[in-house]
Symmetry: C2
DNA sequence: CTCTATAAAATCGTATAGGATATAGGATTG
DNA sequence: CAATCCTATATCCTATACGATTTTATAGAG
């Protein structure tokens, strides 16, 4: 007898060809808190009490404390003994400058490496990620910016993926979580410039020109910095 | 196996003349596990059961789970649902290469910046950290290497401190924990070369010569890489 | 208004129990 | 003999209750 209606193994346990265990409560709680941080539902610097999360998620203290510990390790929440947890504070001007210095040290170099290693398949992926063809128009300013921020993150991550240094990529991705929160706080206007700059990077990569790619990426990041610098007035 | 050595109140509350909250149990447990990872008492890849830590430290599950969560967030331990925690695996050749690529992107640049900002006071601190005057002689090879590794870490961290980018410094410090474990695993021989290279960096910094400092740091890191590369044979 | 003392609330940690799952080793079957 | 199944134990995961300590809020005195 065949054709039984059980969930196929492929769907249930396979993802990308690998088996994966069903997620634990700790993991779910972690994801939930993370999402609230990234969406500003929990504001930077605001307190996060275990008890309130207990009520909100309807789970016990144990998985929440463990998840908060993990977020602390990642620097997204801070803990003070006998006071409790709170979301990491808003980024400072100094930190902002440091972040861009780091990006300028890593990303242009990554773009150059990616240019050397470029091929048809990768280029197609990048083009898709660049969001060039994405709807630049949009009524809802907020939604529009949110879309742009996501596209931008994906594009930069893709470039670093093709630069073939997973450690550097992870480092930038980690910093990006903080950066993302900062950008949302100031819901800075989407400028068409950023998308144009992405296109310039893309063109250099398509031409497999390392120097041009490095230069385009550097200019893009510098411009990005200058655009966001207005937030500190 | 005995109960953990809790810090006395004086030690816990006073540090550098400042009052700080007495540390929580979670913090103490975190430190204890961290120390065991850094000293290889817990080997890379080996399992870490909560119950065994409960017995060893004589504390309940709660603070241990929270501390392990934090270590997971920092990437020092991994967790698999219903399997448990284990120490992060040994570094791979690929990861090793990536780490040195990252260092070469950040540290020479940092050395150049530090050279520009150098002054008498900082220079004195660096000289102390460089371990130049440190006993190069030593009977116990293992202890000798351990001393060198610590000196090396402090020196590099100091340079980055004076480079005035806390974010980059933290990034490198974070990676250093993994690197430290790797080095200890292969208890690679201390070479006098490394200390000579430190002196070269120091000389360039003393001369406040950015280009020379950058060059000296680059050569030092490249040589360090080549020396450790032997571990992958 | 400021300071202090008391009360309320929150955090931290302990202890414990029960359900779920993994792993190893033995029993069963072919 | 080999492969499969089954069972026992260890471990993980979560929930819950409780006490101790500290913070925070409140109210009263100077």
């Amino acid at each position: 007898m065949q054709a039984m209606n059980l969930p196929s193994l492929d769907e249930a346990n396979l993802a990308g060809g690998r088996i994966q265990r069903s997620s634990s409560l700790v993991e779910d709680v972690y994801e939930a808190i993370f999402a609230q941080l990234m969406s500003l539902k929990i504001a930077p610097g605001s307190r996060i009490t275990v008890d309130s999360l207990v009520k909100e998620f309807n789970v016990s203290h144990t998985p929440i404390r463990e998840a908060l510990g993990r977020l602390e390790g990642e620097g997204l929440v801070l803990k003070t003994h006998l006071i409790g947890y709170r979301a990491a504070p808003q980024i400072t001007k100094r930190r902002f400058d440091e972040l861009y210095e780091l990006r300028l040290l890593l990303e242009p170099h990554g773009a150059a490496k990616a240019a050397v290693l470029m091929d048809e398949v990768k280029l197609a992926q990048l083009q898709k990620s660049a969001g060039v063809m994405a709807h630049r128009e949009g009524k809802d300013e907020r939604l529009r910016y949110s879309n742009f921020a996501r596209q931008d993150a994906i594009f930069h991550d893709k470039v670093m993926e093709f630069a073939n240094n997973e450690l550097v990529r992870e480092t930038l991705a980690h910093q990006h979580t903080h950066f993302h929160i900062f950008r949302l706080m100031f819901h800075s206007r989407v400028t068409e410039e950023a998308l144009d700059e992405h296109e310039a990077i893309l063109a250099a990569l398509a031409a497999a020109d390392p120097a041009a790619a490095e230069q385009a990426m550097r200019r893009h990041i510098e411009h990005s910095r200058d655009r966001l610098l207005l937030a500190f007035d």
